[in-house]
């Protein structure tokens, strides 16, 4: 992130990723030994758990956490999960998509401003982008709750402007939940976008201008295509956590805005219905994997980070 920040004005700034070192890396067993401890940790606590989750989703729904579950290949759990909870599932995907689209617009403006317009304030602005991150996610979301409350400044202003009716409110509406998602995941959009836009040689955009492209044409024919890798990884990094999030829906929404995360969390911790919760979790993961694959294929970017 920091390596790209300084470069002499005349250098070939648009050169692609620095090529791998010319010296061939050593090929011996050391590489495996260095990789081993971390790889084991990920294997045992990331890969194996998926297997457990898959198994859990096929347990006999008649069991309970205390008495234990029997493995009965109960594919019916998936039917139950879809029948009972398709609404929160669709709602999560919808909220996630809207929040990601808004993040893309806001994040693009900010990343573009930092990369091309900030001049010597570039690093400071980058620091400011990540700074809010360091105040707890939950504490920040609670302060949105405060800001959007019924007799608060925001609601009063919107009522005065007749954007909201006299009884209109923001809390416990989809607007509040989506606003919270946008707010919380915006940095995940800005940083990859910035990394991509910063690599674009401004002279390419100038060249487009010299060839009589209007600024907007220049943007859509030059800047936007070159920033596509950042757009792809930014959208993924925003969409995925936004769909799985339940904190915003819980704190800023009402049961009418319940998302799939709320359902899974309740089924695991309160209701103790592990098989159906597991089935929902597996479906969410598969759905996201498929979306990611389709999206990456379409956008034509194989490298992600």
């Amino acid at each position: 992130m920091t390596a790209t920040a300084t470069r002499p004005a005349g250098s070939s700034a648009a050169a692609p990723e620095p090529a791998p070192p010319a010296k061939p890396p050593r090929r011996n067993l050391t590489g495996y030994w260095l990789l081993l401890p971390g790889a084991l940790w990920l294997a045992v606590f990331f890969v194996v758990p998926f297997y457990s989750l898959l198994a859990t989703s096929l347990y006999d729904p008649g069991g309970s956490v205390l008495e234990g579950y029997d493995m009965s290949w109960a594919f019916g759990n998936y039917v139950t999960a879809v029948q009972e909870y398709w609404r929160p599932l669709v709602r999560s995907l919808w909220y996630g998509a809207v929040a990601t689209a808004i993040c893309l617009v806001l994040g693009y403006v900010l990343a573009y401003a930092i990369a091309f317009k900030a001049g010597r304030w570039k690093n400071l602005m980058l620091i400011l982008v990540i700074a809010p991150f360091f105040t707890s996610f939950l504490v920040r979301t609670l302060s949105w709750k405060l800001l959007l409350r019924d007799d608060g400044f925001v609601v009063d202003t919107l009522q005065f402007l007749h954007v909201l009716g006299a009884d209109g409110r923001l809390l416990a509406t989809p607007v509040a939940v989506i606003a919270g998602l946008v707010y919380n995941f915006l940095p995940f959009m800005v940083l990859p976008l910035y990394a991509s836009i910063d690599k674009i040689d401004p002279r390419l955009v100038e060249a487009a201008g010299d060839l009589y492209a209007r600024p907007f044409v220049g943007f859509f024919k030059v800047t936007w295509p070159l920033s596509l890798p950042g757009v792809v990884s930014g959208t993924l990094l925003t969409f995925i956590p936004a769909v799985g999030d339940y904190i915003n829906a819980q704190l800023l929404g009402s049961p009418g805005q319940r998302m799939i995360g709320n359902v899974i969390q309740n089924l695991f911790t309160d209701a103790g219905d592990y098989p159906v919760a597991g089935a929902l979790s597996v479906m969410l993961m598969l759905l996201i994997l498929v979306l990611v694959l389709v999206y990456v294929r379409r956008a034509g970017t194989e490298e992600l980070l």
């Binding site: 090929r27 590489g31 790889a39 457990s52 806001l106 609670l142 339940y246 995360g261």
Partner: protein, 274 residues
């Protein structure tokens, strides 16, 4: 007709975009202002949040609310331990990926990317399923939280350190070797100091990820409470203003650290540039 339009476009481009960017940045700070303000609030009631009056008592006695400081210190302990282990394992992995060639490289890359691309609720519930299946269902707590945190911090460490390593000029190491430094000496005196900012950045990132995590922690915590879980709990029944004191302190401390790192980096760059 072409001229003025184009000029207008240029003007819009050069000023509006920057103004827009600054507005977005301001928006990101709105809740921070609220948190700082509310840390000085003297509320009339626990459930209605308004700024009722200025007081310093939240700052004078930050540990007044029951259980908050216990949860806070637990979060700090878990954060530190998770950071140490994840930074160590992750840095080794980054070195392996940049400096060594081996079979199964793309599988390793995928394995590192996937934890960052999985929804937290899925990772949290899979871990819970594993712990329950392994018979640890009744012993969820400090250690299961720690295991989970190391797992999700690891990928971020690898990515951060790898970026720094890949950007290094390996001529410097070659030069050290040419001057008869042994491999260990080269590593200690040349490579490590150069990679250190990346490692430090990765450690800071790990700590803040661990300290802030709620979704995965909540599923694997049993009866143990971390700071985010404490906040979640009081969110339903009235938030003590001291939570905002903690939020403000966290914000200040991290800004100081980030700025210090940035200043150091600039100074180092100036030295290297001569």
């Amino acid at each position: 007709m072409n001229g003025p339009l184009q000029r207008l476009g240029r003007w819009v481009g050069s000023h509006l975009v920057l103004a827009g960017g600054l507005l977005v940045l301001l928006y990101m700070f709105v809740p921070i202002f609220v948190v700082v303000l509310m840390s000085f609030n003297d509320p009339d009631s626990r459930l209605i949040y308004r700024f009722d009056g200025f007081t310093l008592k939240n700052w004078a006695d930050p540990c007044a609310p029951d259980g908050m400081c216990g949860a806070l210190s637990r979060s700090i302990q878990i954060g530190l331990l998770a950071t140490v282990v994840a930074t160590l394992l992750g840095t080794l992995m980054a070195f392996a990926l940049v400096r060594h060639r081996f079979h199964g490289r793309s599988a390793a890359n995928l394995g590192i990317f996937l934890p960052m691309a999985s929804p937290e609720i899925v990772m949290g519930s899979s871990l819970l399923a594993l712990f329950v299946a392994a018979g640890f269902g009744g012993r969820l707590g400090f250690w299961t939280i720690l295991i989970a945190h190391i797992m999700f911090c690891l990928s971020f460490v690898v990515v951060t350190v790898r970026a720094r390593l890949a950007g290094l000029d390996d001529n410097l190491e070659q030069a050290a070797m040419d001057l008869y430094a042994t491999e260990v000496q080269t590593f200690r005196r040349v490579t490590l100091p150069l990679v250190f900012p990346g490692i430090l950045g990765a450690a800071l990132l790990s700590f803040s990820l661990s300290f802030d995590d709620f979704i995965i922690t909540n599923l694997n915590a049993g009866n143990t409470t971390t700071f985010p879980m404490y906040v979640w709990g009081v969110a339903q029944r009235g938030v003590p203003m001291q939570v905002n004191v903690v939020g403000t302190v966290m914000f200040l401390v991290s800004v100081v650290i980030v700025v210090a790192v940035e200043v150091r980096r600039r100074r180092q760059e100036r030295v290297l540039a001569g």
